[in-house]
């Protein structure tokens, strides 16, 4: 929906007093996921140009545990779901303690040798040329060189992330949560010229709304709903940009933070840029890219219960840690500094929506920061699963008779064998 005419008409009739930009288009993010180019025909684990051997293979955890120093009998006991005394607490939690001297590998990933993580070896990738160097990075599906997305290179063959657009398990999980009311992100695009499709002075703003998205009769997110901006201390990003033939691109990198569809919710981006296409049907689609702290991402997975992530998604988290560290490509302190950040792109699809000022009184007509209006909120938990107490990547149950740990007795005494813990 082209809101431009509607905005102006309504402003004149119903909403006087709006400070107008030349034009304004407003959207709600109906889908967002890490930009992961999918190179196979179908299926998640099948080989493709992105991952010629398919996804990372299922892991032989008996071998992993034996390599970590457990006896084969202990390893089998820990991994045997039929073992009546193998409680989730003890059995799964013990998976964490496979580092040197049985250190917790989730919080001390370098306490174990790099177990490896198969990364993307294809040359096609999605995202944005963040460093302006067309000689590095991927080539976009449309042929653009220099796409910087080392995050994709690192985890693109991990089956959580792999799949056709909108079909990877991770994207489905978190977008379902968002679309069912978990959170809402709105986008305001405003230009000072006369033609939204070709404007040298465009600003793109990402904001939070407390208004939930609504599903239409087909189960998709409905267009044209109204969302009021909720000033937020953290989640806000404003991008200077331009539009050319309906494609919006950043004119200057910025720092910003978005709410990410992932266990670690803070998508903190340095040197962030956008690349969006204004579609004929009124929607907006494209990417937000930048360099993000890679350790945060790793922490997100650890806090999502390391043993569960590892078992279900076929990776060893220390391997992810090593891979992210290896592929990190940006240092805030300069080229010689520690590479604490990794290039990343979020694929975003947004629908036309009405976006209102925080008091809901009028439509926004320009892009501005609302951070100063944010009401301080209680410290938000970054726990991936707030209802569960996760410590160092494992769920602690103080009542359990057999606690996992470096010194835990793995095989239960005979008298406990049938006690069910």
């Amino acid at each position: 929906m082209n809101h431009c005419a509607a905005v102006l008409a309504l402003a004149a009739v119903a909403l006087p007093g709006i400070a107008n930009a030349g034009w304004t288009k407003t959207y709600v993010v109906e889908w967002n996921e890490p930009a992961m180019y999918y190179g196979a025909k179908d299926g998640v684990i099948d080989p493709g140009t992105d991952c010629p051997a398919g996804t990372n293979p299922e892991i032989d955890w008996i071998k992993v545990l034996v390599d970590a120093g457990y006896t084969e009998e202990e390893a089998k006991w820990l991994r045997n779901p039929a073992n009546p005394t193998r409680s989730p607490v003890h059995g799964q939690n013990q998976m964490a303690f496979r580092g040197k001297d049985r250190a917790n590998v989730y919080v001390h990933p370098t306490s174990t040798p790099d177990p490896g993580l198969v990364g993307v070896s294809g040359t096609i990738g999605e995202g944005i040329d963040l460093d302006g160097n067309r000689k590095n990075g991927f080539t976009s599906p449309t042929g653009e060189k220099g796409i910087d997305n080392e995050f994709y290179r690192t985890v693109g063959c991990w089956k959580t992330y792999r799949g056709p657009p909108r079909l990877s398990s991770g994207a489905l999980q978190f977008n379902d949560s968002m679309r069912n009311g978990g959170w809402t992100t709105v986008i305001v695009v405003a230009g000072k010229g006369d033609d939204p499709l070709n404007d040298k002075d465009v600003t793109v703003g990402f904001f939070v709304s407390a208004d939930k998205m609504v599903k239409d009769g087909n189960g998709n997110i409905a267009r044209d709903y109204t969302f009021s901006i909720k000033p937020d201390e953290k989640y806000e990003a404003i991008f200077p940009a331009q539009s050319k033939n309906g494609v919006i691109t950043s004119t200057k990198p910025v720092t910003g933070m978005l709410r990410e569809p992932a266990y670690w919710r803070d998508l903190e981006l340095l040197r962030a840029q956008v690349r969006f296409e204004m579609k004929a049907d009124g929607s907006l689609t494209g990417y937000v890219g930048g360099y993000r702290p890679w350790k945060d991402v790793y922490t997100g997975w650890v806090n999502a219960r390391g043993p569960v992530i590892e078992s279900l998604t076929w990776v060893q988290l220390p391997g992810v840690y090593y891979a992210l560290q290896r592929n990190a490509d940006y240092s805030p302190s300069g080229p010689k500094g520690e590479k604490t950040h990794i290039s990343y792109a979020l694929r975003v699809d947004a629908l036309p929506a009405f976006v209102m000022t925080p008091d809901s009184a009028q439509q926004v007509a320009s892009v501005q920061s609302y951070r100063s209006q944010a009401v301080p909120e209680p410290q938000r938990t970054m726990a991936a699963i707030p209802s569960i107490r996760v410590v160092d990547g494992i769920v602690i149950d103080p009542k359990s008779k057999m606690q996992a740990g470096p010194t835990a007795v793995i095989l239960p005494p005979k008298n406990l064998a049938n006690a069910g813990n």
């Binding site: 008409a9 119903a14 239409d216 009769g217 709903y225 009405f354 209102m356 439509q363």
Partner: protein, 575 residues
């Protein structure tokens, strides 16, 4: 109108024909007793005196049921049930209610609901306020306290005092229940359940009595008058004040009648009465079955349907009750209430944190009055397309009281239903080549074609299948352009306020108007115009008129066997 007897419903299958074991203690016994009492009410109607005569029966509507329970037993009593379907007759459910009986399945629903309501009304937190007395022993029967409760609540629910026999039978069940369960309030629940499933509650039984001022003539008894007033103005049972006026006979005087009408209209409950009337007249029950093709109208969902219904009522009640505005403005006002879901359909922002807010549509929106509300447009359309014919039929029927006959059985609709070709106007013109169709379509289609800038969901459009939509129309010698032109036409059409007058009268009395009512309706219409087309004045004028209480005596029943099944056949004096 059906003046015959009501057949007593079969008892619920759950208890029918069963011999209760001792294990089926209090609850099962109570249920059986309650049903027996309910059926007993059919067999022994409580007449005020031997000369009264039953002149009409009207099953109370779902909204009347809900409002009555809220008023009598408390607004926080939850009513969670599916009600028996209602029936629309000559454009009004109120007319259909005079022809409705009660199925056994319906009775089972009422019975289950009654038990649930009684349990809520007499739970620990509500009983003290509702019962009004304290039993000497809460674990035993207390006839004095129970009788006071039965008489007081019975009068509110039956809209008349209970006869001694009606009290006694429920008193017995209350005592039996209290004894069986060892709980005074368990017995009281049984008595209340019995009241709630009695036909005297579920049906408005209108009674007439000999008119002392006109020998040989009948007049409605005062309690029936009270009910007519209360259900017309409040959509609920009479309150204590109105019942007192009936009990004393003061309601037969014009002064008291006028005083009561003024009181009822001044009450906040007049708004619920107006909502009920317009929900009936505007045929908003259709939203319950409204479906749209999600492939064509993806924005439609249950929330949109519910909001669209409410929007029409908010617009109507705000204009006619809150603002006491001119009824005719209903067709031209571009100010509406919108909600967040509806705003998405209208394609406008929702500038409020509240659930509803007012919104003035700009001229360019082509919105003008209730006919351009999403509710009217969506309700009177097909699941996948608009329907000028259906919209035209409903404008004529709802707002001008003009019925349109059903189409002949052998009509070929193939051309008009081919929504992939051209505009509806073109397809209808083809259709009207059939002489059997053109007579009606000439009346209906111009009205609907003026609304064609709104699709089957009521969204603004100007193109159909790539062709611009022409919304000019001509009805007899009147030409108008688009929805705003149609709104102006209806605003100035005398049949529109006349139709409202007729509907208010029919709704209130539960009877179709006939030829002899013409002069009365004309006079009421004139008074309505003189009031500035103010709805409250119209209601007051109709309610205060002698015609509102005119007795329509039942015709001689033709089926003797059926008549015999009622215990007290009414005398049938000639009309």
């Amino acid at each position: 109108m059906y003046y015959g007897p009501i057949m007593p419903p079969a008892p619920p299958a759950a208890v029918r024909g069963k011999t209760l074991s001792k294990k089926h203690t209090a609850l099962g016994v109570l249920a059986c007793v309650a049903i027996a009492h309910a059926a007993g009410s059919f067999a022994a109607p409580a007449s005020q005196n031997a000369d009264t005569v039953k002149v009409a029966l009207r099953r109370i509507t779902e909204s009347q049921y809900r409002h009555t329970i809220a008023d009598v037993l408390g607004p926080d009593v939850k009513i969670e049930a599916r009600f028996e379907p209602e029936r629309r007759e000559d454009g009004l459910l109120a007319l259909g209610s005079a022809e409705l009986s009660l199925t056994s399945a319906g009775f089972e629903q009422y019975f289950a609901l009654a038990g649930n309501i009684a349990a809520q009304a007499l739970d620990d937190k509500r009983r003290e306020k509702l019962v009004g007395c304290t039993p000497q022993d809460p674990a035993a029967p207390d006839d004095a306290c129970a009788q006071a409760f039965i008489e007081r609540q019975g009068e509110r629910l039956f809209r008349r005092p209970l006869a001694a026999s009606e009290v006694q039978v429920r008193l017995k069940s209350a005592a039996l229940g209290a004894k069986q369960a060892g709980d005074f309030y368990a017995g009281l629940k049984l008595a209340l359940t019995s009241l709630l499933v009695a036909p005297d509650f579920l049906f408005r039984i209108e009674m007439a009595e000999p008119d002392p001022a006109n020998a040989g003539q009948y007049r409605l008894d005062a309690y029936t008058k009270a009910s007519r007033l209360s259900f017309l103005i409040w959509d609920s049972a009479p309150d204590a004040d109105l019942l007192a006026a009936a009990r004393s006979g003061a309601l037969h005087s014009q002064d008291e009648l006028d005083r009561q009408i003024a009181r009822l209209i001044a009450s906040p409950k007049f708004e619920q009465g107006a909502r009920a009337f317009f929900a009936d007249m505007l045929q908003l029950d259709g939203f319950g079955n409204l479906v749209k093709d999600p492939a064509i109208y993806p924005k439609f969902n249950q929330s949109i349907a519910e909001n669209a219904r409410e929007q029409m009522l908010l617009r109507t009640v705000d204009l006619l009750v809150e603002k006491q505005g001119d009824y005719r403005d209903l067709f031209t006002s571009n100010e509406a209430f919108i909600s967040r879901p509806l705003a998405s359909v209208y394609g406008v922002p929702f500038a409020s944190k509240a659930e509803w807010t007012t919104y003035r549509f700009p001229e360019s929106s082509e919105r003008s009055g209730i006919l351009t509300d999403v509710g009217f447009l969506a309700l009177n359309a097909h699941p996948g397309t608009s329907s000028p014919t259906r919209r035209g039929i409903k404008v004529l029927e709802i707002f001008m009281c003009q019925a349109t006959p059903q189409p002949p059985a052998n009509v070929d609709f193939s051309k008009v239903q081919d929504s992939k070709q051209g505009t509806v106007r073109g397809r209808l013109l083809d259709h009207m080549e059939n002489e059997g169709c053109s007579g009606c379509h000439r009346r209906t289609d111009p009205i609907g074609l003026a609304l064609e800038h709104f699709d089957g969901l009521g969204q603004l459009r100007t193109i159909e299948n790539g062709m611009p939509i022409d919304v000019t129309a001509e009805l007899k010698d009147v030409k108008f352009d688009g929805a705003q032109g149609l709104g102006d036409y209806l605003r100035n059409e005398p049949r529109v306020p006349a139709c409202l007058v007729r509907n208010v009268y029919q709704y209130g009395v539960g009877q179709k108007t006939v030829g002899r009512d013409r002069s009365y309706l004309a006079a009421q219409t004139q008074a309505f115009a003189a009031s500035g087309y103010r709805f409250p004045d119209l209601v007051a004028s109709v309610a205060a008129s002698p015609e509102f209480f005119r007795v329509a005596m039942p015709k001689q029943a033709s089926n003797a066997a059926t008549v015999a099944s009622t215990a007290a056949p009414s005398p049938s004096p000639a009309e």
